[in-house]
């Protein structure tokens, strides 16, 4: 199946494009897509643990299992989210 990956802000700058399509096996989670992306673009590995995700423009967990045609977005930390720090 195929998923559409969206990346934003500095994450997009590192990867070089805002959107990518990737073929992934059935049962793939957002986490797995992220792990593959890190393998492809090692410079984004610093975001592992701090990114959050959305599937089809709804907040989602990294464990979310994706369907064919899903849009999975990876969101770097936002500027104002200082909680709880």
């Amino acid at each position: 199946m195929r998923v559409n990956i969206r990346v934003f802000a500095r994450l997009r700058d590192i990867i070089g494009v805002a959107e990518l399509d990737r073929d992934v096996p059935t049962g793939t989670t957002a986490q797995r897509v992220w792990d593959d992306l890190v393998e492809e673009f090692p410079d984004i590995s610093t975001y592992t643990g701090s990114i959050s995700t959305a599937v089809n423009a709804e907040y989602a967990k990294m464990e979310t299992v994706l369907d064919d045609g899903d849009e999975v977005a990876f969101l770097p930390p936002v500027s104002g989210g200082e909680f709880p720090g």
């Binding site: 990114i51 500027s79 104002g80 909680f83 709880p84």
Partner: protein
Amino acid sequence: MMGLARLAVTTERLNLDALIKCVHDAPISDGSEGTGAVASFLGLVRESNLGRRVVKLKYEAYEPLALRAFERIDNEIVERWPTAQLALHHRIGVLTIGEVSVAIVVAAPHRADAFAASRYAIERVKQIAPIWKREFFKDGDVWIEGATTDPDDAAAREEAFRRACV
């Protein structure tokens, strides 16, 4: 004719009067005494941040998710302050010093709820809205990254509520 959307992400210059009209025109909720107070908040591009002189800012959003975030905030406000009416617009694109990046208006029967709910709204926007800020200086630029809060995190909601009601 449909009025201005109460919740929006836009490249247009923000218009506080239009937002105020927006909450005024909204239907009065059950049990409300009607609007007796309107509190407004404007977030502006500051000329200096962390000791650096800012030339301009660029805001970028994942627009459909940012709208979902605003809807959540709207629902949370109705839960806490059932008679409050929120209007919330965030600008994206390139902004220069002094320009308005976010505008929030809350109408309520009494001032305490209007002030508290508007403060709550901006705290939650900062926590959960997928909107990123890039600062440009004379000799470079940087993405400002803090932390993203899980929108379902109850402790974060409580923290925003605490800040709103101090």
